[in-house]
Amino acid sequence: MSLDISFIGILIGSIMASSVPLILAASGELITERSGVLNLGVEGMMIIGAISGFALMVITDNLFIAIVGSMLSGVIISLIFGFLTQSLLTNHVATGLALTIFGIGLSAMLGKNFVGIPGKEFPILFSSLKESIPFFGPILFGHSIVLYFAFALPFLTNYFLKKTKLGLVVRAVGDSPVSASNQGINVILVRYCCILYGGAMCGLAGAYLSLIYTPQWIENMTAGRGWIALALVVFATWSPIKVLIGALIFGGITILQLHMQAIGFRIPVQFLSALPYLMTIIVLVVISRDSRKIKLNTPTSLGRIFYKEK
């Protein structure tokens, strides 16, 4: 196979497409964690988003309703998590794990009748430019709207956290809920909002998989991407831009090693399959070495239950 320049363009385009669900889910979870809430239910919320998006598409034949519906289903399932952890003060870790197990089971049940139904083609933008410009065409154009949104999201998230008042409030709540509460901030409300936002983004990430990336419903189709997204947030030390870098590296090496397997490199397949995980961790650890910055970005109260004095 010749590695000509237009092939590299197409390759980069496909790498971008494969990293979208990671960027979406991790950006959502990042906001949740920045408010001090550790939601391990990312995988569960994604798979629920995937099935509800696909089911709505089949039922209504309307992609817009499907996308919005998948986000709503993410919100609803994260509301369960929010109610348990914020109102009933349950342990974040246990509740999140339960959410994932619940999500996987529920989606399999709901999805029974949707297995094998072909998906619908999702509209892509600027498809003419994709073909006409070599190299840059397949990178910049011919993607779904969700992809463009996903690539803007880390920058928006960064702006939100660093520059807006609301972002400051979210960081303050994650740093010290007790102080925030004493300053008159409604900690529980802020955390609920962050949890629901995280749910919406995970739902969207799931819908991207079942409506756009591989447009069909397959049981357990998120295949651990939720856990990767969770790990990305931590290894990116809660920095949205580093989440983007990590997601691209992970997506990139996943695609590249598939090509290497196809070409028949004399490297054990198992090692190639493990490569994306290894490289992502190594790169993120290397770019996140500044211990001072880690300390400043880490939500100090992450995973701790906040109880308001009465």
Binding site: L168, D175, S179, S181, N182, G184, E309
Partner: protein
């Protein structure tokens, strides 16, 4: 405009404890009021009620005869009641400016101008763009005060503000508070430090067990009268008979103790040599941060320094770890009770088991002998009059004084030959301090030795047989305590010379 704050019949009951029992008090601007009481007397609860963090079961608060509904911290803010908490309410990872802007209603530009005006007016120097976690305790407190001042408060409540400050910072704070008072801000100063009340405040209300027991002018009070009101009984005066004798054996001898560190937050120690005799208390004075931390850690075996010789009971122990040193009958009481001496999340008996000395039989064949540990813990609780007999209680629910009693009890149960303690009465109230001091004197009476590293000169003069001063990692010559005066100590602690 004059401010008048009146608290009327406030009660707050927690399960198993009456925190405030029908408290009524009146404050007027132009004066600094002290609210004095031991730990657990109900001061903090009252303050939390005034700042809207906790709502009372009963009673009312009036500001200029207006009945205030304080159901959230926002209400307190709206009514111009500012509050500086004992444990700072700051966001450590956010910058100073972000901390101040979080509840501001104006835009960042004009806020910055106003903050700079305040900084200038009161001579505070704080970099607004560094994260709060880089600030010293004194600076953090200033940030809290600025936060209150930004809202032009009528009432400013300070909850035990000096417990984390150095002497220098305390002086600066007092100057600022007097300025605020002159500007017409009503100041309520909560403390258990008697001297501060007398030097700063005009009027003092004493609380005990949730009740106000006395309100008086500070000019009519002395340290002793206030202490007696606070504790509710006459405190026995502790006096130690000096216990120095040339013939006694040296039980502990340190030679060539040197410590070098690259960490800018640690102090290097330069050639420390000293010895302790049987039944003696060696006091080591100094302003905190002059090497006491490092010295304590080296003596306890947490840090092993090369080329140092430590002889204890005729054995070289310089290379032994803390556990091994304990087996030679040394015992340690570190400065930070919560993070170094005990694990707050563990139950009392579990903390006792942490000091798993050789003859304890706390663990048998790898299994925990719970019955034995509990028995042993009960004995400590009663021998050292800790105010609970429930060994299942989590240690974090003990007050500072009771936790310190528990730790001392745990350390002393092995009948150690040498106890090394670092600021054993830091942050404790008078009653607990008295008890700890009596205990330390008793140890010496039983011909056991102590090394007392402390920043409290009064405590050192009361308990030590000989005293040395540590300054920038160097030890002064060791003096018999009858030759030492507070003035001499002060000069040496400041780096001066007395010869």
């Amino acid at each position: 405009m004059a401010t008048d704050l009146r608290i009327s019949n406030i009660s707050k009951i927690y399960p198993g404890c009456i925190a405030n029992d029908n408290v009524s008090l009146q404050f007027k601007s132009g004066k600094i009021y002290a609210l004095l009481g031991e730990n657990g007397a109900g001061k903090s609860t009252l303050v939390k009620i005034l700042s809207g963090v906790v709502s009372p079961d009963n009673g009312e608060v009036f500001l200029n005869e207006k009945n205030l509904k304080l159901s959230s911290p926002l209400d307190a803010k709206k009514n111009k009641i500012g509050m500086v908490f004992q444990h700072f309410n700051l966001f450590e990872t956010l910058s100073v400016f972000e901390n101040l802007s979080i509840d501001a209603t104006e835009d960042n530009k004009s806020l910055r101008v106003r903050i700079n005006e305040i900084l200038k007016k009161y001579n505070f120097s704080i970099d607004l763009d560094v994260p709060v976690l880089n600030l010293s305790a004194g600076q953090k407190q200033k940030v809290e005060i600025i936060r209150c001042l930004l809202r032009s408060p009528k009432v400013l409540i300070m909850d035990e503000p000096t417990s984390v400050l150095t002497e220098q910072e305390t002086e600066e704070l007092f100057i600022s508070l007097k300025k605020f008072c002159d500007e017409g801000i009503l100041i309520i100063y909560i403390t258990h430090k008697l001297k501060e009340v007398l030097s700063l405040c005009d009027e003092v209300a004493v609380m005990r067990k949730g009740k106000v027991v006395s309100v008086s002018q500070t000019q009519n009070e002395r340290v002793e009268t206030l202490a007696n009101k606070m504790v509710g009984q006459k405190l026995a005066k502790i006096k130690k008979k000096i216990n120095i004798s040339k013939n006694k054996d040296e039980i502990f001898k340190v030679k060539h103790l040197n410590f070098y560190s690259d960490d800018p937050f640690e102090t290097n120690l330069v050639n420390l040599n000293f010895s302790v005799k049987k039944g003696e208390c060696l006091g080591i004075a100094g302003i905190s941060g002059n090497g006491q931390n490092e010295l304590f850690q080296i003596l306890s075996g947490e840090i092993i320094t090369p080329d140092t010789s430590i002889i204890f009971r005729n054995k070289e122990i310089a290379k032994l770890n803390p556990k091994q040193r304990r087996e030679y009958l040394m015992a340690f009481s570190p400065e930070d009770r919560i993070s170094q001496a005990a694990v707050p999340e563990l139950k009392i008996y579990e903390n006792v088991a942490l000091n798993n000395f050789k003859s304890s039989n706390f663990f048998e064949k790898g299994l925990v002998n719970e019955r034995k540990i509990k028995e042993h813990s009960k004995k400590i609780l009663s021998d050292f009059s800790v105010n609970t007999d429930n060994v299942e209680l989590k240690s974090q629910f003990l007050s500072g004084g009771n936790l310190q009693k528990l730790i001392l009890g745990r350390e002393l149960i092995t009948a150690p030959e040498l106890l090394i303690c670092y600021n054993p009465t830091w942050g404790l109230d008078v009653g607990a301090i008295n008890y700890i001091h009596e205990t330390l004197i008793k140890i010496n009476d039983q011909e056991k030795s102590t090394i007392l590293i402390s920043t409290d000169t009064e405590e050192l003069l009361k308990l030590s047989d000989r005293i040395a001063v540590i300054y920038k990692g160097k030890l002064s010559k060791i003096m018999p305590s009858e030759e030492v005066t507070p003035e001499k100590l002060g000069i040496l602690m400041g780096g001066g010379s007395i010869d």
